[in-house]
Symmetry: C2
Subunit: 233 residues, 2 copies
DNA sequence: GTGACATATAAGTCTGACTTTTTGTTCCCG
DNA sequence: CGGGAACAAAAAGTCAGACTTATATGTCAC
């Protein structure tokens, strides 16, 4: 959960990034480096570095004699952790949350299947430990504790899949789960059925039953999608 | 296929990026901005901008009094199009290609299912057109033409899914398919079975048969995985 | 050995001057 | 009146140098 606000240029990004991803500057809008530098009270060099980073996220394009133009939303690198965080913090949070949950529903079952084949003994142990932790915190309003184990569980699955692209989505899943607990108010204890599914999933991975692991994960992510439909129709 | 080498700082990235992703500088290696600036014969400001970009890709971390340290591979933002391109061009291309193909096999079936539900009439028409183009170029060593239609086909599917995260993977799929045609030598015409599957998939989407669309796409991606197993065991 | 303090180092920041590319305008000629 | 060439302006791009700040590390007293 690195805030990344280190340095002046980081501070500028922390303001400009959310503004752009929130749509404050519609696609095609033109900004000028000098003007921005004045507005944020930083030197041109610092502002240039910030623009370079925004450019590498495909949020803007810098062209001579024109300025820094905001790119259309479809071109943004929506897999950039920073961009994801900015958008989750902004107005279209619900929309973003749905996109990410659908992504999860595609990735995690396949990842679980692979994990069943490739997980090391240590990872299996970790998984079981997480599942136990979830059971232990599933009742009595221990939502924070439950969240920690839930996140850890999914991280292990993704990592154990052995696919680096899957593993890198650990942060995304963490963000989604954390958002569900913190933002979208969650008064009640987690669904007991979901807890059971996680325990069974740990079991399936331990036994190397890829097909069952995949099926169970599909049930878990289907539940997450359903939950989302209830909250935001 | 934007080379992105615009500007001095872009040229530096074009050299440093591949070097880092190729593992020329093992994790923990320390670089100094000044030294790099001298080595590439650019000013410090230009080099600083390049470092900022590398930092935003999580390839390096810049700390005072220490220097620019290379981060461990597990932290790299492997979804950054630039990073993907660099790695595909480097030594661990086979490994990277496998990761991406597995990712495809997870995403595309779900995307196809969603596309069957949400595709517009126009998108359905485009899809059919692409499929026809694939059929037309499937024989007689017209690999280039086939590739164009194949890429377009998958792009439409991903876009029609209505999920922006899926849509953004169009470039990745394009890179993978293009790599298969160009790099890994492909003398023979494409597998007729694959062509048929694409035609049927266009059909299923047009008819709104989500389940069939998903199943057919699973067959397609399974084929891609199998093909990979044959080439790189 | 442990803590406080000094020092060296490399990134970070700012400024001002200059270069280069690109756009839009003007003006001349067909 | 239209089209093309020359021109001017605007904004990013580049560079060099001086200065600031954080911090790792070494030193010394205790």
């Amino acid at each position: 959960m690195t805030t990344g606000g280190r340095g002046l240029h980081g501070h500028v990004l922390e303001t400009l990034g959310p503004a752009i991803t929130a749509g404050d500057y519609p696609p095609g809008s033109v900004l000028r480096t000098d003007e921005l530098a004045q507005r944020f009270e930083v030197s041109r060099s610092v502002m240039r570095e910030a623009v370079r980073v925004l450019e590498s996220m495909y949020l803007v394009e810098s062209r001579r004699r024109v300025g820094v133009t905001v790119r259309p939303k479809a071109e943004w690198n929506v897999y950039d952790p920073q961009v994801i965080r900015w958008r989750l913090a902004g107005a279209d949070r619900p929309h973003q949350l749905r996109s990410l949950t659908v992504l999860r529903s595609a990735i995690e079952p396949v990842a679980a299947g692979l994990a069943a084949r490739h997980a090391t003994a240590e990872q299996c142990a970790e998984l079981t430990e997480c599942a136990l932790g979830m059971v232990a915190t599933s009742r009595g309003h221990q939502l924070e504790g439950y969240l920690v184990h839930d996140v850890a569980f999914h991280r292990v699955i993704l990592k154990a899949s052995g696919n680096e692209m899957f593993a890198r989505l650990g942060d995304v899943v963490a963000e989604v789960l954390s958002g569900r607990t913190h933002h979208d108010v969650m008064f009640e204890d987690p669904d007991p059925a979901a807890v059971t599914l996680h325990v069974q999933l740990a079991e399936a991975v331990r036994e190397g039953d890829a097909e069952r692991a995949e099926r169970l994960t599909r049930e878990i992510t289907a539940g997450a999608l359903q939950e989302l439909d209830v909250l935001a129709p």
